[in-house]
Amino acid sequence: MSHTPKIVLFQCQYCLASSADQEWVENSLPENVKLVKVPCSGRISPLFIMNAFQKGADGVLVSGCMPEKCHYITSNLGARRQLDEFKKFLVFLGLEPARFEFLWMNIDERGVIQNELDAFTSNVKQLGPNKKFNTMKDEIIGQYHG
């Protein structure tokens, strides 16, 4: 298997309490992972996830804070309801469930995101390249935009 999955990581900027973890996410992510840092998981619109898949992501990982730990007090609760339902909806339309996962981080923990990202990447790798919803990938979109 030579395929390296393209991963998009949406990360709430407050979800990693340890500066070492945050440093790692910002500077030493594997090359196949693209980081989108957001002020809060409540900022993530389902449209962002949709765009990530359409532009060729093989997997999308959302990392936010667990309840009661949100910097903005309750914003993550709204995000959890929306994104969880959005995952169910994409699965209903044929997406493999393992391609879209959540990490609701406890800010007391250290070094979790590295392991979770590894596990997620290997899960996505097993599924192979994403063939669904990827209609705006460069090589595909060329047919429509000349």
Binding site: S45, M50, N51, L77, Q82, F89, G94
Partner: protein, 318 residues
């Protein structure tokens, strides 16, 4: 409905007594099989009011274009009354300024299907009991009404108008869900495998010409600027490409989560016959399963996505 004169009388009464400034209802369309919405401001016009299975629109869609302080009377089937309640919950209309005349609904008929089943171009169509009487030039044809009810009306669980000011006519106990009919699109979609589901979804959305008729017909789509009309930043692909149409259908449905009143007006408005109701149905089913929320059942409860509660703590896995 046999005694529709009562509804006309009531509409005339509320206009003459200045209870409302305008009544929204349906009138006979200029072509057969299509009744059209009508805005009445004078008492004499109330004679033109009708209600039959060819009334495709959800009249509540016209409410949020009107000034909030305008007093409006509206002929309400169950879907319209539920839409009005949902709009009231979202503060889009003032309930005090509305006068709802509740009427029973017998299910909306699919005019495209009737036209296909007819032997030629239909020149006149009428409903009579459980039959549809068609005139095709000089010839006559009789169709069974139950077979032509649109998918979204089959097995409808909300046939009683809610929260109306006056109810005219009784809900007839006629069962609209005939067992001998083929599965609806939504039911067959659910039973397919993931790859087949994606294939079907792709085939459906490929036909989309992005006219946004579904958006305009929807009573719950009232944003002054839709996400697809936004230019800077461009949130999603706005062209007629597979990517653009897929994103439109997914996000349009998703914005309706826990808000869609399941009237099916979007599907009936679609010029390309694209199925859409199965998407919002799935989302509404989930809302019912997860949060016990049903649109229009409660006067105060906000939709689940507008509710933030710490009870969610253990709802999703970590």
């Amino acid at each position: 409905m046999d005694d529709f004169s009562q509804v006309r009388k009531e509409a005339a009464r509320i206009l003459s007594e200045k209870i409302v400034d305008m009544v929204i209802g349906f009138k006979q369309g200029t072509i057969p099989l299509k009744s059209q919405p009508m805005f009445i401001t004078s008492q004499e016009d109330t004679d033109k009011l009708i209600l039959d299975g060819f009334c495709q629109n959800n009249l509540a869609v016209f409410l949020h274009d009107q000034p909030k302080d305008k007093r409006i009377g509206i002929i309400c089937r169950a879907c319209e009354s539920r839409a009005v309640r949902a709009l009231v919950i979202e503060h889009q209309v003032n309930r005090e300024n509305l006068y709802l005349i509740g009427v029973p609904c017998m299910g909306i008929l699919d005019w495209k299907k009737i036209q296909d089943a007819a032997d030629g171009p239909v020149t006149n169509a009428q409903e009579s009991g459980d039959q549809i009487l068609l005139e095709i030039g000089d010839k006559k044809q009789v169709l069974i009404r139950n077979e032509f009810i649109v998918d979204s009306c089959r097995g409808c669980g909300h046939r009683e108008p809610i929260d109306v000011d006056i109810q005219i006519g009784e809900i007839s106990p006629i069962e609209m869900n005939a067992d001998n009919l083929p599965q609806t699109w939504g039911e067959s979609f659910k039973s397919k495998s993931a790859d087949e589901r994606f294939q079907l979804f792709t085939e459906e959305t490929e036909r989309c010409i992005r006219c946004y008729a579904c958006r305009e017909a929807c009573p719950m789509c009232y944003c002054t600027e839709c996400f697809v009309d936004h230019i800077a930043p461009r949130w999603s692909e706005s062209m007629v490409t597979p990517g653009g149409t897929q994103a439109w259908h997914i996000i349009r449905a998703f914005h309706q989560t826990g808000r869609c009143v399941e009237c099916g007006a979007c599907e009936r408005a679609c010029p390309m016959d694209i199925k859409m109701v199965y998407l919002t149905d799935k989302l509404n089913d989930d809302m019912k399963k997860e949060y016990g929320f049903e649109v229009g059942e409660n006067e105060e409860k906000q939709p689940p996505f507008a509710t933030i509660t710490l009870d969610d703590k253990n709802r999703f896995k970590y």
